[in-house]
Every structure is written in C-alpha cells, then in structure tokens.
C-alpha cells in the first residue's frame, strides 16, 4: 500500500491538479521527496503501465497519467537535486530518419519520464549523426529508437553502426521498438533490447541500467 494513497490515486487517474496539490501538502507535512517518488509515484506509474498492457487503459489514460506524474515530479526535482539524488538514467530518444510517426515514441518517452528517467527527446526523422551527437552532448547512457514503417526500420541498423564508428557503442545501451520491430530484428542488428510496448520499455530500461 503506498504511503500517500491520494497522490497514488491522482497519478493513476491522471488528475494533474490533485497530483500537484497532494505533493505540495505532503511536502508541507515534512514528507521525504525520495520516499514520495519511490513509494507513491513510481508504483502508480507501474500500475498505469500494467493496466495499459492489460488493455484496461488506452493511450489517453496513459498520457494523462504521465502528465500528472510529470507535474508532481517537477515540484520534487529541485529538492531531489539538492539532496544529490540522480535520475534513474538518461536516455536519448527519437523516431528514425525518414519516419515522421511520433505517437509511439511520445508514449515511451512519457512512460520513461514517469519511471524517473531523464529523457532527451530528439523528435522525428532523426539522423544517425543526430543520435550520436546527442549522446556525446548529454552523456546519456541509453538510446531509444522508434520506427513505424518497415521501410524506415533498416535505419536502426545504420544507427547502431554509427555508434560503433564513433567509438561509443560500449558506452550506450540501445533499445528499439515500433510496430514492425521484433526481438529477432533487435538481435540481428545488435541492439541491446526490444520493447514490445511503452511499459516493457520502462522495465527494460531499468534492467539495462541495473536498477530493477
């Protein structure tokens, strides 16, 4: 049972206003920010992910829950930074070159943020070079690639190669996903993980960061 069930419920229901106000109230009562995140907020997003995977939640429910989570996190982040708490991990994410589909990628980005990751979203139609440069610039430990089209998914192989060429392949974990993507394809191109949906993406990202 989460300690602050009102906060847990607000995130689960995607109620941004209540999520923000209950976070402020809890802080005023002396709650520890790290505890709020670990005991109420992350479990709420885990439940959101579970419901999405179980087809009880759809895209709108997931997006508003992620928005409520983000709202509460924004209040806590300065306090967490003050205490020296680090984000779970830093991930550069984007839809590959030639592909303009951003809904799936946005879902994954929202869920990762909800899971405590720092997400650097490069948007759509992102070139291999842009991915490599973003990792150099931000020191991200992970890269998330999205593609909806069978015609654009081969670009993922090029991106994996671009990280090898830049001598960065050992420094980053590469996670891929999208409608036509399979585990087989991830193995074939040498990606580190394949996420079937937004929830698995978070689980896998945690595993890759060794924080599960």
């Amino acid at each position: 049972m989460p300690r602050y069930s009102q906060l847990y419920d607000a995130i689960l229901k995607g109620d941004l206003k209540t999520a923000v106000s209950t976070t402020q109230e809890a802080l005023a009562k002396g709650a520890d920010p790290e505890n709020l995140v670990a005991e109420s907020m992350v479990p709420a997003m885990d439940e959101v992910g579970r419901r999405f995977e179980a087809n009880e939640y759809f895209v709108p429910e997931l997006m508003i829950a992620a928005r409520a989570m983000k709202g509460a996190l924004e209040i806590l982040r300065p306090l967490l930074t003050q205490k020296g708490a680090k984000p779970t991990g830093r991930i550069v994410i984007g839809t590959v070159k030639g592909d303009l589909h951003d809904i799936g990628k946005n879902l994954v980005a929202s869920m990762l943020e909800g899971g405590g990751f720092e997400v650097i979203d490069l948007g759509i139609n992102v070139s291999p070079q842009q991915f490599v440069e973003a990792v150099k610039r931000t020191n991200a430990e992970m890269v998330g690639l999205s593609a909806l089209l069978t015609t654009t998914m081969p670009s993922m192989r090029t991106i994996v190669q671009a990280f090898k060429d830049a001598g960065l392949r050992d420094r980053v974990k590469i996670m891929i996903g999208g409608a036509p993507i399979t585990q087989e394809y991830a193995n074939e191109i040498g990606a580190d993980a394949f996420g079937e949906n937004a929830r698995t993406a978070v689980t896998l990202a945690r595993q890759l960061m060794g924080v599960c």
């Binding site: 759809f58 998914m153 036509p180």
Partner: protein
Amino acid sequence: MHSLMERLLAQGTVVTDGAWGTQLQARGLADGECPDAWNLSHPDQVEAVARDYVEAGSQVILTNTFRANRLTLAGYGLAEQVRAINRRGAEISKRAAAGRARVFASIGPSGKMLFTGEVTEEDWLAAFAEQAEALAEGGADGFVVETLSDPAEARIAVQAARRTGLPVVGSLVFDSGKEKDRTMMGTTPEQAAAELAEAGADAVGANCGLGIAGYVPICRRLRRAVDLPVWIKANAGLPALVNGRTVYATRPEEFAGYVPALIDAGASFIGSCCGTGPEFIRAIRKELSR
C-alpha cells in the same frame, strides 16, 4: 442520404480500391520520401496507380492525399504546398477514372494529439477544411476521412469536409484492446459510429487494422450502431521484414474469401488497404460476380 451515395449503392456492393503507398514504392518512391509530393513531381506514376485500380474494377478510387493536411506536410517541409498537392491529387484520380469510377479523396490523420497540447481543435478544423477545399477544387466527388484513431479528430475532419457539400465517409482503425475491437484511443465501433453520424458522415467505416478477419464483426457492429452504409477497407495483415523485404500475410484470394461474410455483416463499400494492390481488387470483383 446524399444523392451520389444513393446512386452508388443502387448498384449493390461498391468495390473501392487498394493501397497507394506500397504501389508508389514499387514505382520508385524512396524510403522517407513524402508520397503525396509525387502528385507534383511524378504525376504520371500516381495516375498509373489510380488507373490500375480502375482497370481492376474499382468503382470508387481514392487520391494520393492521405498525408496532405498542413500539420503533416509541415513535417516534410511542404506546408506551403497543401493546396497544390491536394488539387493535383484530385485531378490525377479524376483523369484516371475517366468517368468509369468515382473519386473519394483521402484525408488521413494529422498525427497530433489533442491532450498533449501539440494541436488544438481549431488547428484541426483549419487544416482539414483547407485540405478538403483544395480537393473539391480538384474535382473530388466525395471524401473518405480514413485511418483515424481519435474520434474527436475524426468528427472535426468529417465536419470540415462536409462544408464542401460533397458526401463524406468516416473510417477509423480498430486494432487495440483485448478483443482488438477498439481504436488506439479506446473507442468502440458503437462509439465511433455514433460520433461520426453526429458529425454528419454519409457512411461509417473501418480500415487498415490487423487484417480482414477481425473486421467482419466490427462491420456488423458499425452497421447495427447507426443507420448508415458501412465502408470496410482492411489491410493484408501486419507486415513482416523477411530478408530485407516487406511481406504481408494475406493473399488476394484468401482476402476475397471474406467478401461474402462482410456483405452478410452489412458492408456496402469493400476495398483493401496496406500491402494490397490491383490483384486484390480483381479478386474481390471475381468473388462478387460468383
């Protein structure tokens, strides 16, 4: 009912067309290139796709304008070409039809979601109205608002297209949920049909999706939900990449085998979607003539 819809349906089941994107790729459209831009750069190739469908027996053909709303074209840096791409798209299909088929111009989703704040209802209305107007100028006989997941966006697109006075079909994608009978947004066929009917759609439908088998019960539910003709345009199953080539699961004859079940479920317009070509339309015609 709109008089054009009445005339079309008086002939019995109306055969529509198949995919455009995969057909253009077969004609050299490069990966990542905007297919709709070919209306300006490769009009002959686009017309050849349309003509193949007319010759295969399509009574209604669509247009190569699926992405040609301002919001989507902006992603390709083509926002200033909205009018030209749509006008040309309608003209090309009309010329290919040469009076042998009707042209229902394709209006696809914006790819933007309301609740993320990246777009407003006003943006949608303006973008779809602009597109519909240009398509009407190019000579479209009607519209199909297709492949949408969000009933709110579909409602606005249908309303925008209706301003032209031409008939409008509203068609959503049902591929989510436990039974794969909901849109990505969780909308059921009943909710979709009600929303589209309220927006003034002249027909309701389902397209793309996860293949034709699942669209038989969806067709029945749409037909029962509202007193409007039903439009079904399923794809050939989900694509897989085999040895670097895209392969779709369903073959034309297998696809056409579902036609009697679709008619029984109340479909008035039948065609096919991603991964299909003129051979699917021929197979559907053959099945109908049996």
